[in-house]
């Protein structure tokens, strides 16, 4: 365990340093502009899997949390001209409150009922924002980026780095959960909720905790998007595509290990970026659907499941 921790944090530090170095060395802004979206999807997929993977509660409301993050940032900029870090921190707090509220209202429901309730949540929040003139209403709102701070020479590069930090935070949280008693409890309740409860697992409290953590990270990932696009409108901030993509990424990657959603997000996110540039952004959804079907049939445990069975087979051959 100890040695794993050191390896993990060393890897995280190297990852962040490499990104910092890249922002200094690479002049072209486009790779960062495209890469930002992939990093954002990694955070979303990892955060989603805390509740969706570990606890088995499928949240279709990723867009609700994401959009809440976007509009928290919009509001803070409009009202106080708040800096980016404040936007993210407050968005995380809003996301955790939202997670708590959703949990309180819906976690007594199981399976499909929980999922439907999360879709409803997205619609409610989107409608509210649409009718809120202060943050632009249905027409959306233009935002002005503040001057960039050193050592970054462009705002997009800075957002790229910030999103990379969020990747590390979300992976660290998920990894901690998987290795702790929380993870064992969530796994037990995913297998059999009644048996878990009768074996002493406080199922409602653990689900609430997962919902709060997942919600905080989902909203935090959304906060920088306002400044990234310099524009926000309800129908893109609350787009159902976020929910579908993130769910597909987590499932295609596999939720048994934190690496699964990361791999899924890299694979699908980069495919989407390439397709959006070379063909059209509409093809995205089609490819997403096809890949999801292929994985559900061919590799129901995702990339992680595939990797594990390969390594088991390789081990057996030795």
């Amino acid at each position: 365990m100890r040695r794993n921790d050191i390896a993990f944090w060393t890897g995280a530090a190297v990852f962040l340093l490499a990104i910092l170095l890249a922002t200094v060395l690479i002049r072209n802004e486009y790779p960062f502009f495209a890469g930002y979206v992939i990093l954002q999807f990694i955070v979303l997929a990892v955060a989603w899997s805390i509740l969706g993977g570990a606890a088995g509660y499928v949240n279709f409301g990723t867009n609700a949390f994401f959009g809440a993050g976007v509009y928290t940032a919009v509001f803070l900029v409009q009202a106080f001209g708040a800096p980016l870090l404040v936007q993210i921190a407050v968005a995380a707090a809003v996301g955790s409150l939202l997670g708590f509220a959703v949990g309180l209202l819906t976690l007594r429901m199981q399976g499909i009922f929980f999922s439907i309730a999360t879709i409803a949540l997205a619609i409610i929040i989107e409608t509210t924002v649409m009718n809120w003139r202060y943050v632009g209403g249905a027409a959306g709102i233009q935002l002005q980026r503040p001057p960039v701070t050193a050592p970054f020479d462009s705002y997009v590069k800075m957002l790229f780095f910030v999103q990379a930090v969020l990747v590390v935070i979300s992976v660290a949280v998920t990894r901690y959960i998987q290795h702790s008693w929380i993870g064992r409890g969530l796994q037990a309740l995913k297998d059999d909720e009644l048996a878990a409860e009768c074996t002493g697992v406080p199922t409602l409290r653990l689900k609430m905790l997962a919902c709060v953590l997942s919600g905080a990270l989902l909203s935090a990932a959304g906060a920088p998007a306002a400044m990234y696009l310099q524009y926000a409108d309800p129908s893109s901030a609350f787009n159902l595509n976020y929910s579908v993509s993130v769910l597909a990424m987590a499932l295609i990657g596999g939720t048994a290990h934190w690496l699964g959603p990361v791999l899924g997000a890299i694979l699908l996110g980069s495919t989407q970026q390439v397709l959006a540039v070379t063909i059209s952004s509409e093809v995205n959804v089609l490819v997403l659907g096809i890949m999801l079907v292929l994985f559900v049939v061919g590799a129901p445990k995702g990339l992680i499941g595939l990797l594990r069975s390969f390594s088991l087979r390789a081990g057996a051959r030795k």
């Binding site: 008693w181 064992r184 409890g185 796994q187 037990a188 995913k190 297998d191 059999d192 009644l194 048996a195 878990a196 409860e197 009768c198 074996t199 002493g200 697992v201 406080p202 199922t203 409602l204």
Partner: protein, 247 residues
């Protein structure tokens, strides 16, 4: 957190408990007391309310009327997980293992959450392994729970309940479908647990097992207690024979 438990207080006291499902009254005004370390047999025909009763004891269901007290504390509205912390453990009529885990990990859940075992991972592993050895499951410790046979699953359910270090263990038909040698094996296990001051409520249809095991037997029929007392007395009771054994 009401009155402090006294020396003579019963371990479990159920008072005037009623639970119905729609118009069907599954438990009708049932009151019982179980002593510390008592071996208590619960019998009755199918649908007589046995499982409903133990669901209300373990917290899987809440009664509509009446109270449940455990060690002097009112636990009527307490969620099942907190009852498990207090020392109530159960097995299920149809085994409910954690299928994505190995057998020993199943026990770890009980050790971590119910018994709140504070030892190091290695110590907890040792405790789990010694319980498995006692249940004759040591060789299966690292096998996935999904790969166990029916008999092994029942033993694992008991092992998981024991790992919760209970004061009261409820065994819901742990012997159904077992061969007579296996029934004896499980029975010996339960008797040895009772020897450690664990009160056991045993629901069972196998009469020899109930007779051999119980200090007291209670027979339910249509949600009501029709007889309670020494095993031989209850068996001799005309209403019990009529309701349960058929005349």
């Amino acid at each position: 957190m009401t009155s402090a438990p006294t020396q003579d207080a019963p371990l479990l006291a159920i008072d005037a408990m009623t639970r119905s499902f729609g118009g069907f009254v599954a438990l009708d005004n049932v009151s019982i007391e179980i002593r510390k370390g008592e071996r208590f047999g619960l019998i009755g025909p199918n649908g007589s309310g046995k499982t409903t009763l133990i669901n209300c004891i373990s917290g899987a269901l809440l009664p509509q009327k009446g109270t449940v007290r455990f060690c002097g504390e009112d636990i009527t509205q307490m969620p099942a997980s907190r009852r498990a912390h207090r020392g109530i453990a159960r097995s299920f009529q149809i085994p409910r293992p954690f299928r994505s885990m190995t057998v020993v990990e199943n026990l770890m859940v009980a050790l971590d959450f119910a018994a709140k075992h504070t030892g190091s991972p290695a110590q907890r592993q040792d405790v789990a392994m010694s319980i498995l050895a006692r249940m004759g499951l040591a060789s299966k410790a690292h096998v996935s729970a999904a790969a166990l046979s029916q008999v092994e699953l029942r033993k694992m359910e008991l092992a998981r309940a024991v790992a919760a270090s209970p004061k009261l263990l409820v065994s819901d038909e742990a012997m159904a479908g077992l061969s007579s040698a296996e029934v004896d094996e499980v029975l010996d296990l339960l008797l040895s647990l009772a020897g450690e001051d664990i009160a056991i409520i045993m629901i069972e249809h196998i009469m020899q097992a109930v007779m051999r095991f119980s200090e007291r037997v209670m027979c339910l029929d249509a949600g009501r207690i029709i007889a309670i007392g020494a095993p031989a007395e209850v068996m001799a009771n005309a209403r019990v024979q009529e309701a349960y054994l058929g005349t």
